[in-house]
Symmetry: C2
Subunit: 278 residues, 2 copies
């Protein structure tokens, strides 16, 4: 039985870290739901845009696999870049789509948690003050619609870098949003906070870079696994980019990577065939 | 109102043509459904694998836009590589997922057609003989579940190259499957066939290459638009790769392309900003 996690929120849950900046994670025990079926995960996981990249869920899943030997984890990607809490309201298509995907996933997995990252769109016009009320409706609706009244929800903080950068003026309330996210996690049942403290961004000053996303995934996992708020960087988290890269690849993993390289036009037929044999 | 088309079948509908081999199609009148919402289409459209590439639907949509000035088309990608007709049976997750996506699309669009490409998985063990019966159940179920009893279904032929190539021995019945697809389209109401005659493949000998997919999309469109079977290459189809590349880009299209390049790490902040201004 696959143990599945629903990925929801905006672009930093979908992932915009550059794939080229970190070692690939390919682990046959990490699956992703596509078209209602599970397949071996390859990044980008949450393809909301043609430029989707590294999010927190790959290293989250790799950390989960280290803890849960011989078990399988499944990721259900439903995050959508640029979306506000209002866009996630329970009457809207994002919420409905996520519920449909999670229900499809539940047919062949046990839904174990929800990973949420959203807040950049609430950083101005007094929206931060409305976060708790709006988000509570969404959380309650997820739990109700999925018949999972106690499912853990892991809530990531937003980047402390948001006030700077060339678009920094869009985020005057970023500290307030972070405070709201933490208070929400503290107050509501089975919600846990993972801080973004010290994480850094792409040149856009908005999106977490790939190395930071690998670290963030470990913080999400620690919050989930220990059922506690993660308020400080983790000890040893600077090695996050190697979370799964020092493990020898299995035959299925080598084959999946070769298939990706060949079907994607990166290697020739001759290279593909000779490497398949080796 | 967006005019939408459901994309179903296996890998050659999803698309495995190499993106680098053809000019990009970016047209603000072509949308794609992601997470229940419409966004400007960027290839790859049907992200069933991390190596998804060019399929027939981009040039289909570009041809549709040429014919339907000032109207918008929406693509609903649900094809999944490596899938058999049995995997598409109406009790399975692929069918259910496609129905859910099409229903989400129908909330904000008019569903105008279904584009189908499948058959490589039926090319051995006598499966070709069962094609008609199995596919008819799927077609009837699509029309029934979507309350679209007369919706046109465009059925592409499979590659004549399938018998050759290093995996050619997997496809002994490829001619029989092609015959079944054509006969199906001729016999069943509002079904139209688009031949793959003369189209060529990637080095794998299985997947249509990018140039052929651009041509194939035009054939699909001709079959849809004229409501007739396309049994021969189209006149002038060799220019298919330029179907949308000679049209000047709009501001929205230029911005979308720049965002993709910047958010994907292809251009620097300085380049992005200077090009945004220009």
């Amino acid at each position: 039985m696959i143990h599945s996690f629903l990925l929801v929120g905006q672009s930093n849950m979908a992932g915009r870290g550059f794939l080229k900046d970190v070692p690939m994670i390919c682990n046959e025990r990490i699956k992703v739901l596509r078209n209602g079926r599970w397949q071996i995960m390859m990044e980008p996981i949450n393809y909301d845009r043609a430029f989707a990249g590294v999010g927190p869920s790959a290293s989250f899943a790799a950390a989960w696999c280290r803890k849960n030997e011989d078990k399988e984890i499944g990721l259900v990607p439903c995050a959508e870049g640029g979306t506000s809490l209002d866009a996630w309201s329970v009457e809207g298509p994002l919420f409905e789509h996520a519920i449909l995907q999670a229900k499809l996933a539940k047919r062949s997995s046990k839904l174990e948690g929800i990973l949420w990252h959203q807040g950049e769109n609430e950083c101005s016009s007094g929206l931060s003050k409305l976060y708790h009320e709006k988000f509570l409706k969404i959380v309650e609706a997820f739990r109700r619609e999925l018949c999972e009244p106690d499912i853990p929800i892991i809530i990531g903080g937003i980047g402390n870098y948001l006030g700077s950068g060339f678009l920094g003026h869009y985020f005057p309330e970023h500290s307030e949003v972070n405070q709201e996210l933490l208070e929400f996690a503290k107050k509501e049942k089975n919600c846990y906070f993972a801080t973004a403290l010290g994480l850094t961004s792409n040149p856009d000053g908005i999106h977490l870079n790939a190395v930071s996303q690998r670290i963030f995934g470990l913080r999400y996992f620690e919050a989930y696994d220990k059922r506690k708020h993660i308020l400080e960087p983790l000890e040893g988290e600077e090695n996050a980019i190697n979370i799964d890269s020092e493990r020898p690849l299995t035959k299925a993993e080598k084959t999946a990577i070769l298939e990706k390289q060949f079907a994607g036009g990166e290697i020739s037929l001759e290279e593909y065939q000779s490497q398949l044999m080796s």
